[in-house]
Amino acid sequence: MSNPAYTVIFYLFAAITVFSAAFVVFSRNVIYSAFSLLFTFFGAAALYVFLSADFIAVTQVVVYVGGILVLLLFGVMFTNSIMQTDLKTDVLNMIPGTVLLVGIIGAILYTFYSTHSWMPSSTMLQGSIVERIGFETMSGYVLPFEMASILLLAALIGAAFLARFDKPGNNEK
């Protein structure tokens, strides 16, 4: 779909996603990272929309922005008391990290671009697919779906158990 506006908007969101992700990684301040992560998620969600996966996009926004990100922020708050001004995290093995960063990204991209056989199939996804997701969920993917729900349950319980506060008796140490 060679619609210029469409293209521009795509590049815009792509830029938002990538740069915010870069900021998440490179900023020393955890708070900033957390908030720039918000933008990354949004950008990703927008890209999902571009990929005509509206339902996923919505889920992304809900779950990530609404759930995970908040969790992360809580975590930040818990671990670093807000009063402490420095939320900076210092870094370790920078050089191998950078080498790998460049190397892996370069390698993957080279792979992608040296591969000329991407054939878009005749039946690309068009329009909303919520209905089809529902259909698939209840037909083909019902077992994974159930397992996922059980997993979530277990995760909730586990997380609650792990992160619960101890009795005043045994946190005196």
Binding site: L92, N93, P96, G97, L100, G103, I104, A107, I108, Y110, T111, S114
Partner: protein, 766 residues
Amino acid sequence: MHSLIQLSIVVLLLPLLSFVILIFFNRKLPRRGDFVGVGILGTALAISLYMFWTVIVQTYDPAFKLAWDFTWIDFGNVPGVGPLEIRMGIFVDNLTVIMLAMVTLISFLVHLYSTGYMAGDKHYGRFFAYLGIFTFSMLGIVLSDNLFSIYMFWELVGLSSYLLIGFFFEKQSAADAQKKAFLVNRVGDIGMWLGILILYSQFHTFGYQQIFDNLAAGKFTMSNAWLTAAGILLFMGCVGKSAQLPLHIWLPDAMEGPTPVSALIHAATMVAAGVYFVARIFALLTPDALHVIAFCGALTAFMAATIAITQHDIKRVLAYSTVSQLGYMVLGLGVGAYSAALFHLLTHAFFKACLFLGSGAIIHAMHHEQDMRWMGGLRKHMPWTFATFTFATLALAGLPLTSGFMSKDAILASAIGFAKVEGGGIYYLIPVLGFFSAMLTAFYMGRQIWLVFFGESRTHLKPAEEHHGHDAHAAHGAHHGHNDHGHEEHHGVHEVAWNMRAPLVILASLSVFAVFSPDPLDGAKGWFMHMVQTPETVVGRYTTEHASANLSAPSALMAESVQAEPAHHTMTDAVPAANPAHGATEAGHGESAEGHTFSDHRQAELAHESHAAHYTAIIISSIMVVIGISMALIVYAFRIINPEKTSEAIRPLYLFSFNKWYWDEMYEATVIRFSIVLSKMLAWFDAKIVDGIVNGVAIMTRNFAFANGSFDKYVVDGLVNFTAFFVNTTGAVLRKLQTGKVQTYIVMALFAVLGYFVYYLTKLIY
């Protein structure tokens, strides 16, 4: 077995018995057992005299022959040869019997003499033991019938001579002399042994008779040169034993032995053994070999005579005269005067033994003074010795009425005849040398007589430093410890006792012509020349030029000898020819020489010519002898010519003679030096090179082993250690990687991923 054979065996074994008894028990017996030796030899003498009587006197037969043998070694059935046996045996003929009597007689006399001469010696008993074994082996040579046993006894004679020369072994000179004698004889024996080998390899037998028969039958398959070589090689044995050129050097030194030994061994018997041996093998000597023998003998006779002129030691003079006389005998054999040579052997044995024993008596009386320069005037003190010594000297010089005259003339006559037969030229050298030596003999013997017996005593002239010389010389203790004698007039010079005098008398009286021949001028009339006759040669057919001459043109002589008698081939049927000839005295003197006819052309010719030359020889030699004696008188008696001045005038010649023609020096410089150096070189070669190579190989191997070992140690084992070390270090390094920091692990994992990527992509590209 014939009784004579048994007797001869007894005679042979008796001296051995004496040896065995004395060598083991001489210290236990009274008088050190000398009576045992004398008694046993007396018995042997009696037996052999009985044999002499029966054979020579009763059965007066030139062809007398007895043989007996037994199987010594049985080889079984030898492939390629058939049944093969080595037989030992005894061969008795006239010559044997005569030699037997001669040897036992002289040996007995020497035993008797030694009881006086050797009295008081430390090893008195041992001396008689040695004499016994010598007599045994000498008799063995005389009696044996084959080359092998004669070679064995030959060496045994050498051994006993070795023992007796070195009897005073404390004396360095004696020890050297005995070694020299044995080795020089060994050199001769090598040749003899090779000769024996040649004959054996042809006929597979050692016996004389078998060899002669095979030769006569023409079974000798090698070339004639080999036959001549065999003859000459066998003669080499004689050269060694009879001290002929060039192996004569040991005999003068052998005078280091006690004087009786010199008389017995080195004058009468052993040195004659060589001549006897050549006579035994005479039949197989080719003319070429005979020529060699003749020249060898002539040169020896001449050389020894010239040396004898200038010697001072009384025994050395006699020694060289012995060499010279042996030269005569060998010469005689060489020119084919078989019986004459043996005749001379016999006569010489007697008078030379007499001379030696006489000189022994003198030395004994002079307290072991041997240098003639310090003697003189002894005739007053020792009349018996003087008389016998002088008569023996005349015999040696060859004056008429003596035995030596007859034998020597017979030889010289044959020499002239030989020269004629061989066609003159160089062959006349032989008689000329012979006559010249006769003159020299007369000269030096006259000199000796005069120096020893006449004039005044010169003992006081002896320079002082000579004392130590002959003190050491007399150090063997056979004397009674008189060290400083001689300055006063012949202190204690006296005639010797009877047991030393009797032998002198007996031997001197045996040198009278009448013992051998009725005619003082012609030994050929005597019994000896009749009983011992030249054997028929068996090699006529092998001789090159003579055979051809013989076959091509049978000469008149051949023809007449044939018609005189029907064709004869062996001694035995030549005998009837001999007997009438002997009886027929009107046929003129020397029938027996001619009467025995030869089927071989050359021998017949020789016999004839030598007979013809008889009177010539007599005349010439008599003149020579007279010249010699008168020269001796001129020089030493009347002192018309001053010997010292003369010797100064002809100093080089004098020195040449005085130093014995420098033979010893020559051998010393060449053979001995060479052997010693070579042995040193080879020993070095062995120790350094051969063994060095071995050790070198060993060292190389060892180094290789070291290299190998170090390889094993440092490379193979090192590899193992290195692996361990590597694992260790890498482990240490890698342990550092295990930081426990999850992120580090992730980094590594990602590096792996990246690595895979790179690999994959490169695969993708290429």
